[in-house]
Symmetry: C2
Subunit: 354 residues, 2 copies
DNA sequence: GAACCCTTCTGGATCGATACAGTACGCCGT
DNA sequence: ACGGCGTACTGTATCGATCCAGAAGGGTTC
């Protein structure tokens, strides 16, 4: 049987409280006694107060949870997610707090809810979740602090937001394309359809998209296009099941292999945009001359491949999220942080071919 | 005050146990009563059994811990680490378990020990830690299952190992260099010196290195060189403080900007090797012709840049580690897994210039 | 010398659940 | 009528700590 506080207390001949104090409140007992207690503990192989019991009593666990939809493994594949995670990890490290990654099963909603309900954490960070996911309701029910990167109608005054103005960001990118004269445009992104397939998404309006990030980004493009007189019904939207390069290339094929092909393709992430570039090159088309391409995120590879994109501060977003979670401001106004974005024009956008 | 099992029990007029059973053992009560209990819970805003209390009682937390030295943020920068993490995350996801990342402060040993002692987990994964780190002793003291990628003298029969034969892997790489006729060779790696500075490491023998991975890899090179008659004292070793590309380039500068320069440089990781390639190109030298370069890990970028390297299965390592931790084999023999490595010869190694 | 304080240590209540032995009761077979 | 059995639910002990009111003892103050 593993030793407990009581075991050590009996060995030294003091009370349980005293042994507890030896570890947690050294000023409450004489150094002489404290040394004796610690020596006895070492002799008995007692490694210090049990973290679980301590968490129960202290009502704090020393960890924050991070929810992932899409298999966790996938998250590590996306440089943007990695950047976000890095920022979050920095904040956690600073606060001497652990970071609990919670892989939420995509198929099994009940399991996802269970995972949220069983997570031993002091708060949650939500990053990229479909709005309708039941785990989000489970989250709200637990009543722990939550910092989210996406707004939901059901958000209470409790919740905090750290993110960007997604629609404004794509509005700038859309304006850029319009200024270059593009009128036949297409958008590729994930979660545009409910079904996880590659192919045209049958959207009547961005509002149909059940996923905050994609929906807002689409809205931005819609407003930019509308301002230039391009009606949304003439815009082709293509869904990708996963946020990865290959899917981007496959999705682009749907657009490029039929006439008339769009003169500009806007991808809702850089990873997908890079796939679009692959597809262009495979067909001997030159990005920025034959077809313009815009991404989103500004991951390192985007600079390397000269992709025009929207920059957003990934690590900052993670860091601020962690900070807000660990040190929650009393004033609700301070619990909304909107970080700046910036259109980065590189070589993959150019005037529309006549 | 947040509701507890008792609150709900009182509301329904049943015992606490029954409410507990409604959540955890539905077969123990009639469906009719169960529905009534759950309805009352919902009405009271009770989100289900408190995970911390449950963990205490059940003696299991539903999470495994992963120790990181080097700031956590750094870990996400290294594609090899990300691969390992991905594998581990997959195993965790499969077992419906959380993954607690524990950033261990490098400067503050006491804080690192505290982090280990306070982690609410069922077991630990150790991946890249200096042998002497006190957190490893704290780990052993806690008596939880541990899966490590590095062997230590103090490992008990309890511990499990998932890794590769580091020395055999570099022995193959060293043999390759020797077969190509290289005799003036240098090795660049991290943790070769105690001090975190870039520069020559004053090593009399690989055994001096206090860091398992680097030590074993050096040993492999030493034995390969010795077999070809190249004495270790003629080998220059250069330390890098961080496992990153820039440091690799700076370290290579130490070797390239003095005569006679080595004809081959072995880096203990691909990231560092890529930095060496940068340094070569900056000086107009051609990798594989003027100077040969070998890496280690075989990260995706290595293939892209045609780097000769040693392949090791990053994700497998993580996955097997997780599996062993979550489903520990009774037979100690099954608790040692040595995964295969493979020398991948690409374009950065060639015959020694005469 | 009474009142008070400070340091050091104690004991019982508590955190919120689960485990398990036990009770109550209806049903069956003889 | 009675023992045996299964189902549905209860009650107490327990997991391993921390909190906090309070006691014991020595020193200071007036």
């Amino acid at each position: 049987m593993r030793p407990t506080l009581q075991t050590v207390a009996d060995a030294v001949g003091v009370s349980r409280s005293t042994v507890s104090n030896a570890y947690s409140r050294p000023d409450q007992l004489s150094t002489e006694l404290r040394d004796r207690v610690l020596a006895a503990a070492a002799a008995l192989g007692y490694a210090g107060p049990d973290p679980t019991a301590r968490s129960l009593r202290k009502r704090r666990t020393g960890a924050i949870g991070m929810l992932f939809t899409a298999s966790l493994s996938f998250a590590f594949t996306d440089p943007y997610a990695v950047g976000y995670l890095r920022g979050l990890a920095e904040a956690a490290e600073q606060a001497r707090t652990g970071l609990l990654l919670l892989p939420l099963s995509v198929e099994d909603d009940a399991a996802a809810v269970a995972a949220v309900n069983e997570a031993v954490v002091d708060g949650f960070c939500v990053y990229c979740m479909p709005d309708w996911h039941p785990a989000l309701d489970a989250l709200a029910a637990r009543g722990l602090p939550v910092v989210s990167g996406q707004r939901r109608a059901s958000d209470g005054p409790q919740s905090a937001f750290v993110g960007i103005d997604e629609a404004a960001a794509t509005r700038a990118a859309g304006d850029h394309l319009m200024a270059l004269g593009h009128r036949r445009v297409a958008v590729i992104g994930d979660y545009l359809s409910v079904a996880p397939t590659i192919g045209p998404a049958l959207l009547t309006s961005p509002a149909d998209v059940a996923y905050y990030t994609s929906r807002e980004r689409l809205r931005g493009y819609q407003s930019a296009f509308a301002a230039a007189g391009v009606d949304w019904s003439t815009v082709t939207t293509v869904n990708v099941p996963g946020n990865c390069r290959d899917d981007g290339a496959t999705a682009a094929a749907h657009l490029l292999d039929r006439a008339p092909r769009p003169t500009a393709i806007a991808a809702l992430s850089d990873i997908v945009a890079l796939g679009v570039l692959d597809a262009l090159r495979a067909r001997g088309l030159q990005p920025g001359r034959d077809v313009s391409v815009v991404g989103f995120d500004d991951i390192p590879e985007a600079a390397a491949e000269n992709l025009t994109t929207v920059h957003q501060p990934a690590a900052d977003r993670g860091r601020r999220s962690g900070e807000l979670l660990l040190d929650r401001p009393a004033d609700p106004a301070d619990r909304t942080v909107v970080l700046p974005t910036r259109l980065v024009v590189r070589a993959t956008t150019g005037p529309a071919p006549s």
